[in-house]
């Protein structure tokens, strides 16, 4: 089994460094950019787009707006005014900057009431031909729910990993306006009864009857207010080993203590998690979360080889930035071939909507750009 990491060397820029990087990139030559973002209530929705357009440069700037309806009973309906404000703001930006604009609607629920958002959004980006007109594809996940951006990014990574059929190397960026305080103030409401494995990872493979004896290692990236989700994912995964991933360092220096207090009965009384199993990873660096998870899973797989290896489950229940680390880890482990392949499921619980309990004083969000594929990794 390899010890190498796909993103051992990575490109992560934050705040002014991110805009500085775009300025430099767009200053090199004409670049055609496709910017995909979700229409949501989150006040961070347009921050990334504004910053990117502010970086100037020549070439097309096309916007792909992904809309999704959570249904008339969704708690998010109460946030419709914020969503409308975001939409108006976006239209204003598009008009001012003269961007191309296309809207695609993502069906979240099938006619018989099943969650199909993951498959729907992956279908919206069928293959490489979608991107032939562009040099750079930017996905802004600031206003997209996890159940959508995980499958979307898995699909895009798989598309970008295939040899380009026109010989052009394209760049894939992910943008997120990071604010742990805001992330923590958004609460799921109407949480589904059952957790599921997200499309785009080893969902069915993980559930095979033939391999049901393999030990299961669960790595939940834990955030606040996720007790119901943890219980439901626990019921789905039935893990043999649990390695909680906690944020340290974090914006709140006592974040780990607070999380341990919040989940002590579940983690330590009920599940008897060994304290040495806890993984610490920086709240500010998704690549560290990714690295820690990949290494841990590989270690388990190697140690459990006499028991025919193991399966791993990753659950992202924390900030968007940390969640991206979990996504990258799951993608890399799943994409490996031979000994490097691990069946990794991403276990997730959907909800009917969200409520926002915004504190009065929220530190400004910080923009992050993760350059995941393209020129900077080309050999």
């Amino acid at each position: 089994m390899t010890t190498d990491l796909r993103w051992r060397n990575y490109l992560l820029r934050r705040g002014n460094d991110a805009t500085g990087m775009w300025r430099a990139l767009f200053g090199e030559r004409e670049r055609n950019v496709l910017y995909a973002l979700g229409l949501g209530f989150d006040e961070r929705m347009c921050l990334g787009l504004e910053a990117l357009l502010g970086a100037g440069g020549a070439g097309k700037r096309d916007i792909r707006l992904l809309t999704f309806e959570e249904g008339p009973e969704s708690a998010s309906q109460a946030l419709a005014p914020s969503r409308a404000t975001n939409e108006t703001r976006l239209q204003d930006i598009v008009t001012r900057a003269g961007c191309g604009f296309e809207q695609r609607s993502i069906k979240l629920v099938s006619d018989d009431g099943r969650r199909i958002g993951g498959r729907s959004i992956a279908r919206e980006f069928a293959g490489q031909t979608e991107f032939h007109a562009y040099t750079d594809v930017v996905v802004d996940i600031s206003a997209l729910p996890r159940g959508l951006y995980f499958p979307l990014l898995a699909k895009l990574l798989s598309v970008f990993d295939q040899p380009s059929n026109d010989g052009i190397v394209r760049n894939l960026h992910v943008v997120v306006a990071h604010s742990p305080v805001l992330d923590a103030s958004i609460r799921d409401e109407g949480i589904d009864e059952n957790a599921t494995f997200l499309h785009g990872f080893s969902a069915a493979e993980f559930e095979r009857e033939a391999t049901r004896e393999q030990p299961r290692v669960w790595l939940p990236v834990i955030g606040r207010g996720q007790r119901v989700q943890l219980d439901r994912i626990l019921a789905l995964v039935a893990p043999d080993e649990i390695c909680p991933v906690l944020p340290s360092p974090a914006q709140n220096p006592r974040e780990v203590d607070d999380l341990v207090l919040e989940y002590r009965d579940l983690l330590f009384d009920q599940l008897r998690v060994e304290p040495r199993n806890i993984i610490y990873a920086s709240e500010y660096n998704p690549f560290e979360v990714y690295r820690q998870i990949v290494r841990s899973v590989r270690h388990y797989k190697s140690a459990l080889t006499p028991l025919s290896g193991c399966k791993a489950v990753v659950s992202a229940m924390s900030s968007k930035l940390s969640s991206l680390g979990a996504l990258l880890a799951a993608y890399e482990l799943r994409s490996g071939s031979g000994d490097d392949h691990v069946d990794v499921g991403v276990a997730h619980v959907e909800s009917q909507g969200y409520t926002l309990d915004r504190p009065g004083d929220v530190p400004p969000a910080t923009l992050y750009d993760l350059w995941l594929a393209g020129e900077c990794y080309a050999e």
């Binding site: 009973e73 708690a75 099938s110 018989d112 099943r114 199909i116 498959r119 992956a122 069928a126 898995a154 699909k155 798989s158 609460r187 799921d188 409401e189 109407g190 949480i191 009864e193 059952n194 599921t196 494995f197 499309h199 785009g200 990872f201 080893s202 969902a203 069915a204 493979e205 559930e207 095979r208 009857e209 033939a210 119901v228 019921a235 789905l236 039935a238 043999d240 080993e241 649990i242 009384d269 009920q270 599940l271 008897r272 998690v273 909800s351 009917q352």
Partner: protein, 645 residues
């Protein structure tokens, strides 16, 4: 990794790792709900809200569990279960007769439906995947039943095809277990690849087939170990069927009916799997054409004493397990941990104070209205403990209030003792007890019997509550090792009071339409409290349900009517969610005042929150439009007639 410190926290059967632990914790009472006559001869639909005990029941019939039970049959704690299963024909003295193949349906099958394949193709893949998994399960179970190892002993298994022409596509039969396993794994793998692929699914994966061919193989019996069938009957146990899509469930039922297989299939599903119509019909529609339906909560409701006995057995087993692993002088009995009486000496002073207050009040009424003098004298002669006397006086206060309301225009004849005895029934006494608890803050919800009623006929709900009490007892013994671990009624009530907030309050987060359900429960709870706590206790011991007419219930089942009335549609959805989560329980076709009614009883945790009696039978009829308004706008309490408590 598992915690045996508080075994009440081990709730789901699938989380109990060892078969011995599972058997140690299994309460045999649930077996009484199975039909006595040949329970393995017909398909069974086993339904309940989450935590009703479906998976535990199914798991009991898996070979490794039954083998373990046969091995442990001489130990006293397993004897009852052994005998019961022997009577049912699942085992005999030394071996197992029914070979269970348990298949959780939440895995992969629902994702198959999301591929968007044409219906015939989706059906073929569903059947192929079911067959592959039944084959893998049957191979494991067959070896386990013969105490052989999987997969090492697969070569000793021989699989023969069904007698008719239908063969499993891609598997040349007869073959050995190794070939059968390889076939099943390949089918499963190819279907999983289709599901997990990020590319379009059309045209990929196996062809599949149209019926459950494995049932025919098992019928023959075509699966033998060392030339012999591993048992006398196969039992396919499909768990979590609610996780299949509606189309998949219909396909499965139709296939089972069409095939009329000798191999019996048991289907366990949560109530949430039922359609809104089925839920509003309380499970009366679906399943009746396909086999027997056992709704666990319904079945327990019909025999509440059995439920109390069954769960007290479960509780005792769990407490004993904790005592087995604990060091020191752990108490091995749950009943001994929860004090069930208020008659202890330390409470006498408070009771005597209350007795004085209540008896003075009643004497004051009799002084102003001498026709009650004889009733008061009768009470003064009552013998018993201070608490019994207190209840008797409070009962009299209610009876006087009732009489005063009815007799305002009658003559002032003195009332005799016979009249008092005629009116002094158990319902009024129970109401008096409730009123006293409310007025003097005496504990009401405590002791084994009330705790059982708070379980609302759901094993998990009961275990959670019992677990909270047991946890307190553990903490108490840690802090004060020399003191009694028995929890006082007051402490029990305090702990249980927190249960509503912990289990129900976050419903909007946990369930669709959760906010509507919570609003409605709050409205009904407040309404029932208003009606219950009237000075004359008109519906003694109290009310904990509301009823709508069966005619109005029809409106909720009429799709066209619901299309034209968004509020009613929302109400119907809310009811379905509340039934599925066991927060409301419906009793259909109850005859009152020449009309037929559907009664909606509150879950007993909601009764706890509003200090309502746990008894069944107390309800008030309301028009549907009122209930819809309660859900939408809440219920406004009327204080005019309530006791000032």
């Amino acid at each position: 990794m598992r915690d045996l410190r508080n075994p009440f926290r081990l709730q789901a059967a699938e989380h109990i790792e060892s078969d011995t632990d599972f058997l140690k914790l299994f309460g045999p009472g649930v077996l009484d709900l199975l039909p006595d006559n040949a329970p393995f001869a017909r398909p069974q639909f086993i339904r309940s809200a989450p935590g009703g005990g479906k998976t535990s029941l199914l798991k009991l019939f898996t070979p490794s569990v039954l083998q373990t039970l046969v091995a442990l049959r001489t130990y006293p704690e397993y004897k009852e279960l052994f005998q019961r299963l022997r009577q049912l024909g699942a085992i005999d003295e030394h071996s197992i007769r029914v070979i269970g193949v348990m298949l959780p349906c939440g895995r992969t099958f629902p994702a198959l439906a999301d591929l968007g394949l044409p219906s015939p193709r989706a059906r073929r893949l569903l059947m192929a995947l079911l067959d592959a998994r039944i084959m893998l399960g049957a191979l494991r179970s067959a070896l386990s039943a013969r105490r052989l190892r999987y997969p090492e002993d697969l070569a000793r298994v021989r699989v023969e095809g069904p007698e008719d022409a239908a063969q499993l596509p891609g598997l040349a039969m007869p073959c050995d277990g190794l070939a059968a396993r390889a076939w099943a794994e390949a089918i499963e793998q190819s279907i999983c690849d289709v599901i997990d692929s990020l590319a379009a699914p059309e045209g990929t994966g196996p062809a599949g087939h149209d019926s459950l061919l494995m049932l025919r193989v098992l019928d023959r019996p075509g699966l033998r170990v060392d030339g012999e069938p591993p048992g006398s009957r196969w039992l396919v146990l499909l768990d979590d069927v609610q996780k299949l899509t509606l189309d998949q469930r219909v396909t499965l039922r139709e296939t089972l009916v069409e095939q009329r297989s000798r191999t019996t299939v048991w289907i366990a599903e949560r109530l949430e799997a039922l359609s809104q119509d089925e839920l509003l019909a309380s499970g009366a529609l679906a399943g009746r054409d396909y086999g027997d339906v056992i709704n666990l909560e319904e079945a327990w409701r019909r025999t509440p004493k059995r439920f109390e006995s069954a769960i007290s057995t479960i509780a005792e087993r769990r407490a004993r397990m904790a005592a087995d692993v604990a060091t020191g002088d752990a108490v091995g009995s749950f009943a001994a941990l929860i004090d069930g009486t208020l008659d202890s000496p330390e409470r006498v002073e408070r009771i005597v104070e209350a007795l004085k207050m209540v008896s003075d009040r009643v004497r004051g009424v009799a002084t102003q209205d001498p026709k009650y003098i004889e009733w008061v004298r009768a009470r003064e002669e009552v013998d018993g403990s201070p608490r019994e006397k207190l209840v008797a006086w409070r009962t009299l206060e209610i009876l006087i209030e009732r009489h005063r309301r009815k007799s305002q225009q009658s003559f002032d004849f003195a009332l005799g003792r016979e009249e008092l005895e005629d009116r002094d029934d158990s319902g009024v006494k129970a109401a008096a007890e409730l009123f006293l608890a409310k007025e003097f803050r005496f504990p009401y919800y405590f002791g084994p019997s009330r705790l059982a009623s708070l379980g609302s006929f759901n094993v998990e709900q009961y275990l959670r509550l019992a677990g909270d009490l047991f946890e307190e007892s553990l903490a108490w013994s840690l802090l004060f090792p020399r003191q009694s671990r028995s929890l006082s009624p007051e402490r029990q009530q305090e702990i249980l009071d927190g249960a509503y907030d912990a289990r129900v309050k976050d419903l909007p987060r946990r369930a669709k339409n959760g906010r509507d359900v919570l609003n409605f429960l709050d409205a009904v709870g407040t309404f029932c409290r208003d009606v219950t706590y009237q000075p004359n206790a008109p519906y003694a011991p109290g009310v904990n349900g509301v009823a709508i007419s069966m005619q109005e219930r029809k409106t909720l089942l009429d799709a066209d009517a619901l299309k034209g009335n968004a509020s009613y549609a929302r109400f119907a959805q809310m009811l379905a969610t509340a039934f599925a989560h066991n927060l409301l329980h419906a009793e259909l076709d109850k005859s009152v005042k020449n009309q037929r009614w559907m009664i909606l009883y509150l879950n007993r945790l909601v009764c706890l929150k509003y200090t309502l009696p746990p008894h069944f039978g107390g309800f008030r009829e309301r028009p549907l439009r009122d209930l819809v308004a309660w859900m939408e706008r809440g219920y406004r309490t009327s204080k005019s007639e309530m006791l000032a408590l």
